[in-house]
Amino acid sequence: MAEAKAKAAKTFDPKKAAAKKKGEMTKMANLTKGWIKENPIFAQLLGMCPALAVTSTLETAIGMGLLVIFVLTASNIVISLIKNLVPKEVKIPVFIVVIATFVTIVRMLTQAYASALYDSLGIFIPLIVVNCLILGRAEAFASKNKLIDSAIDGIGMAMGFMGALMLIGVSRELLATGSIAYGVYLPLPFEGSILNLVVDPERTWTSIFYIINISIFSGPAGGFIMIGILLAIFNAVRIKKAKKREAERQAWIEQKKKEAMERKRKKALESAGDAA
């Protein structure tokens, strides 16, 4: 019985879907929506510049992700607090100034406490200001919603962004160097490398891991190609899911049609019986 119930819950139900769309999002759904379903990079293609530029190693990707988490959450909080004070005409400039203030704070903090990260991110720290993701969330969410919802939205979206950056960073660094280094850019007390795939330091042709040293993936060309590959994988999963849902919907419609036909036939039979 319980199994059947679970199955029924999983199958397509248009009424439920419509209710879900119309109804208020729960806090948990608000937090997790940016992780996969509305992922800033893979689903919405926002913030592509840093996604290409700072992901040649995992550590720089994590560093950029942390900065964006701070800036997006703080700016969402402030913007949702001042949303009623700002006239509509100067909305965008005011939002940009709020964002730029937090970016300046972050820039000085990074310079003071993580100077290796500051040097490697370089111009992309001030460019967080024009990251479409941050202004987009301010405009689409924080300027319309309450304080706590906006803060949760900011954290969730930025976590999705950081996750995407980390995925790209891991794949690129692994393909380019065969290992993942730590302690180089982030101010960690220890350094070294994990997951060292290059077992043969001479890299003779007999080594199986000879190929895992494709240095092009640490360069600009590798960035474009890696994101292309990851987007294609993301698309494949999405298309598969959509096809499955469509098939379920069709089956549901067929079933309803059959039921309606059955009812009609019954009615016709009954009325025929009455007439007779």
């Binding site: 510049c49 530029a53 965008i92 111009i123």
Partner: protein
């Protein structure tokens, strides 16, 4: 200061350190407005216009206002405000001056505020410190030339990429790779080609 400085600045900012393929600035319009050659060219002209004016303005503001008062740390806030208001001003000016130009450029202008290439060039002009190499006033010319070369590079890539994309629309691409994924791979191959230009200057 000879002509070679300007020539080097244009070649290096246009081809060697290409703004889209090598420095990853302005990738959003690169992917977003490159479906048709016509709109790609319109965007490039608008970007060139704003980029040159914005880098002149931000250079002057940095060296004549921020530096004398020792408030360089607010440069990001100052630059983005200047760019946002400049875009607004340029839009108003074009609207008054020429209806025809406004019709072809007007829709791209609001998008330019969040184009990271503009702020990126303004910031990197300051970071590459032309003022100590050439003096504050002559550095302005180098900065302007760099901005112009960068905009030329952006236009070149936009034109090439949009032409390739128009061909891609007609070709038989697997469903999974359709749209942005295959465009990104194409951009990667273009970046590989641009790597070969590294030794010119």
């Amino acid at each position: 200061m000879s002509m070679t400085v300007f020539f080097t600045a244009i070649i290096s900012s246009m081809l060697i350190n290409n703004v889209v393929l090598m420095r990853f600035l302005g990738v959003c319009p690169f992917l977003g407005v490159s479906k048709k050659t016509e709109s790609a060219l319109g965007m490039s002209v608008a970007v060139m216009f704003v980029m040159v004016i914005a880098s002149i303005a931000s250079y002057l503001i940095y060296y004549y206002i921020l530096e004398p008062f020792n408030i360089e740390f607010i440069s990001t806030i100052a630059f983005i405000l200047v760019i946002a208001s400049l875009v607004q001003l340029v839009e108003m000016f074009i609207k008054k001056a020429s209806k025809k130009l406004y019709k072809s450029l007007g829709i791209y202008l609001p998008l330019i505020t969040t184009n990271c290439a503009i702020l990126g060039v303004a910031e990197s002009n300051i970071a590459s410190d032309f003022a100590t190499d050439f003096g504050v006033f002559q550095g302005l010319w180098v900065a302007t030339t760099t901005a112009f070369g960068t905009a030329l590079g952006f236009g070149l890539i936009m034109f090439a990429f949009s032409s390739i994309r128009e061909r891609l629309e007609a070709s038989n691409v697997p469903e999974v790779w359709k749209g942005v994924p295959i465009s990104l791979v194409v951009a990667g191959i273009m970046a590989l080609a641009f790597l070969g230009l590294g030794g010119i200057v």
